[in-house]
């Protein structure tokens, strides 16, 4: 087992190198630091001195890949590639354009993100599975048909409208909770409850439909027929046998997204003014702060690979048929 995990971790290294190279090409080769500086300083009437000052200030005044002026090892290390891209491997994200330490900001901002993402995941899972079981219990009836139509309709609504509608109903019409904002400590619940509700409701359409398909696939299998033939009640068949077996794909599907919960939800956080990693990313995008975007790309890639690894491990834990070599 540990040999397998180690091998998988080693396999992650070339992928991270690939991600890093790709972002490096995207951010520094396609557009030179000069062009970035001009963009940041305003496009017209930028003096060469202002550009070189900006580049020096932000550490972009080095050569891209190879520094001829430096000596020894510094020929390689005193470059944009080393300073800006290689250091990401040590989770040293450097500082953003306005001089804040990105690593520190991320460690602070991941908590509000988690405070939304974790409840959305857990509550959503519970609600989706119960609803799906309920629909499957009444399968091939008009209730089933109506529910599926409703689910498809819910799927067809853009996530933006769930947020806008939720804010409008709960905050503007009934004044139940504040529209947006955040507070530290226990007082935060007021600000968290609406995003969580919106997140759960927005996920019901596709979630329940997906779980319904999983359950239906399970229901048509032989062991279910055997269980019925034994004389078990439909309820017992569904809740004990079908649910238990369908939990395997459900669980592994959840595990793959677990690490990505850290990244937060871009849209939800920016709408509700939650100071999490999602709104951090959005702000970076709109301020064109490339250092933060690069850091988040790297972090996202690491978490994605972690998710894949966890999925493989969880398969061996819940499904005895799967063996890792």
């Amino acid at each position: 087992m540990s040999a397998y995990i180690l091998r998988r971790l080693l396999y992650a290294v070339p992928i991270l190198i690939g991600v890093n190279l790709l972002t490096f090409v995207l951010f520094f080769v396609l557009n030179s630091p000069d062009e970035m500086a001009r963009m940041q300083l305003g496009e017209k009437r930028v003096t060469a001195a202002a550009i070189s000052h900006w580049k020096q200030e932000h550490g972009y005044d080095r050569p891209l890949l190879f520094n001829e002026k430096a000596s020894g090892l510094a020929k390689v290390t005193d470059t944009i590639f080393f300073q800006r891209s290689v250091k990401l491997f040590a989770f040293d994200f450097g500082s953003s354009d306005d001089g804040r330490n990105i690593g520190y900001d991320i460690s602070q901002r991941m908590w509000p993100s988690l405070a939304i993402a974790v409840p959305v995941l857990l509550v959503g899972l519970a609600i989706n599975i119960s609803l799906a079981l309920f629909i499957v219990f009444f399968r091939a009836t008009y209730l089933d048909l109506g529910a599926v139509v409703l689910l498809v309709a819910m799927m067809s609504i853009s996530g933006l409208f769930y947020i806008i509608g939720g804010q409008f109903l709960m905050s503007k019409m009934f004044h139940l909770v504040p529209i947006s904002g955040y507070d530290t400590g226990i007082e935060a619940w007021k600000f968290l409850i609406l995003p969580v509700i919106v997140g759960v409701v927005g996920g019901v359409g596709s979630g329940v439909r997906w779980y319904r398909t999983l359950f239906l696939e399970e229901v048509s299998k032989d062991y279910v027929r055997t269980a019925r033939a034994k004389g078990l009640t439909e309820r017992r068949v569904l809740f004990r046998h079908v649910l238990g077996n369908a939990l395997i794909p459900i669980l592994t599907g959840v595990v793959v997204v677990l690490p990505l919960l850290f990244m937060g939800s871009l849209i939800t956080e920016s709408f509700f003014g939650i100071p999490g990693l999602g709104s951090y990313t959005i702000d970076a995008i709109s301020n064109q702060d490339f250092a933060i975007v690069r850091a988040m790309v790297f972090l996202g890639a690491v978490l994605y690979i972690l998710g894949l690894l966890l999925t493989d491990i969880s398969y061996t834990l819940v499904d005895p048929r799967v063996r890792l070599q």
Binding site: V19, V152, A153, S158, G159, F161, I285, V297
Partner: protein
């Protein structure tokens, strides 16, 4: 009139050509025709198809671009042989056709069917005194002498639209019924009864019902839109109904071109990885795992930021705003394609892994058929249904993605009409008091209809093409 072909236009025409070509090919191969017949026989599929066709029609009309000739400077001027000059503005057939909607611009917000502006202004009375009141709109309901007659006027106009729609529908229906009756050798009345009772092989009742609904809606909306702003006007006074209609093309382009641009790479790499295995498979898997590892929103954001920097520094390369917006749309399709081809690629790899063990592939290999001949002749035709299902399933997701991306300003160009831009510019309007709700409602309505129809259609197509599901439900 000088035709203008923008980049996305050319690709849309290419896609149209491919679709027609595929339809022709499919109509001559029974194994491809049979699933389509199943799609056509489904009532849900037929209803969704009618709605989708209406969207596609508007989208296509909006794709034929041209520039109007300028009026001749002076008739009989010194040199008549000088070439004709054209207006700099690029219009589409749809723009031209709906020019009453496009040109009637108010000052600022006005509610749907309003006769007065939404905000108060200082108005000079005939006697010289100045009052602050809601001024009459320049165009909406201008024909009314007394705004209080509005209700009856709306009713009358709607009735006229209803009649027109029904007459057109009646003519079409009669034509269809007549030709069906001719072919079957039945009297018209018997044919009518068969359709009315839903006994035809294809669900004609659903199709004609859907057509009636769309025609009536279209004509009522059209008649009313000539006199009023039926979905109100936005902050700068543009007709929201027109904006929503214009956004259809953007949504369709994003939903279809994205898959078109990713298709060759995804299909080729996918089946190659599954067929050759070994180091080819390793490289391709590495490629798509790496691309997948980057959060797609961030990849899109990074790419669009880079494009913005490029466009800002090379502004002289773009002749007009329309061309610039069009290139950005194309680029967005490309980058969305880059982030979304991996799913299809993985599916095709799995399928090709299975197919390469099939007897006919083994037999081909034993007889000395080359690798690429096997790929093209035996593997590719057998994974086409997966490609098709993915195309249809991805469509609605991409339309929804456009809205989200435009909302965070990394979507289409801000000057381009799209539902995402409508939502984005209207997001603060709900905070106003009284609420300005119509831009959001219009974007919601148009997007929801398209995505719902696409989702329903995709389900039908998947059920018809996926052999695993056949007979299961």
């Amino acid at each position: 009139m000088m035709p203008v072909v923008l980049w996305t236009d050319a690709l849309v025409f290419l896609l149209l050509g491919l679709a027609i070509g595929f339809a022709f090919y499919a109509s001559r191969h029974e194994h491809l025709r049979a699933p389509w017949r199943r799609v056509a026989r489904s009532r849900v599929g037929m209803g969704a198809l009618v709605v989708l066709s209406c969207y596609v029609l508007i989208g296509l009309l909006d794709t034929l671009h041209f520039r109007l000739p300028l009026a001749d400077p002076a008739p009989g001027a010194a040199n008549p042989s000088a070439e004709r000059r054209f207006a700099p503005e690029v219009l589409s057939v749809f723009d031209y056709w709906a020019r009453p909607l496009r040109q009637r611009q108010e000052k600022t917000y006005s509610a749907p069917f309003a006769t007065h502006l939404f905000v108060k202004e200082a108005i000079t009375q005939p006697d010289g005194s100045v009052v602050r009141d809601f001024p009459r709109l320049q165009y909406g309901g201008r024909h009314l002498k007394d705004p209080n007659q509005r209700g009856w006027d709306i009713f009358g106009t709607a009735l006229r639209g209803l009649t027109e729609g029904l007459v057109i529908w009646g003519l079409i229906t009669l034509q269809i019924l007549w030709s069906m009756a001719q072919r079957r050798g039945l009297p018209l009345s018997a044919m009518y009864e068969e359709v009315r009772d839903g006994r035809t092989e294809l669900p004609w009742r659903t199709a004609l019902g859907g057509l009636a609904l769309m025609l009536v809606l279209g004509f009522v909306a059209g008649e009313l839109a000539l006199k009023y702003h039926i979905l109100g006007t936005d902050k700068v006074g543009e007709d929201v109904f027109f904006q929503a209609l214009k956004s259809i093309r953007t949504g369709l382009v994003i939903g279809t071109l994205t898959t078109l641009v990713m298709l060759p790479a995804a299909v080729l790499l996918g089946i190659m990885a599954g067929y050759f295995r070994g180091w080819v498979d390793d490289i391709i898997q590495y490629l798509y795992t790496t691309l997948n590892a980057i959060p797609s929103v961030l990849l899109i954001a990074a790419a669009i930021l880079m494009l913005q920097v490029y466009m800002a520094n090379n502004a002289d390369q773009f002749a007009s705003l329309v061309e610039r917006a069009d290139l950005r749309l194309l680029f967005l399709c490309l980058i969305l394609g880059v982030t979304s081809w991996t799913g299809l690629c993985r599916l095709l790899r799995g399928e090709a892994l299975k197919l390469r063990e099939a007897d006919y592939v083994q037999a081909g290999a034993a007889l000395g058929v080359g690798h690429f001949a096997i790929l093209g002749r035996h593997i590719l035709p057998n994974v086409l249904h997966i490609v098709l299902i993915t195309l249809v399933l991805d469509f609605s997701g991409l339309v929804l993605a456009e809205a989200v991306l435009s909302y965070i300003n990394i979507g289409v160009d801000p000057t381009m009409n799209s539902w995402g831009n409508m939502i984005n510019s209207a997001r603060l309007e709900l905070a106003r008091d009284p609420v300005v709700w119509w831009s959001l409602a219009a974007a919601f309505l148009f997007m929801f209809t398209l995505v719902l129809a696409a989702n329903l259609f995709a389900d039908v197509v998947r059920d018809a093409f996926d052999p695993r599901l056949r007979g299961a439900r």
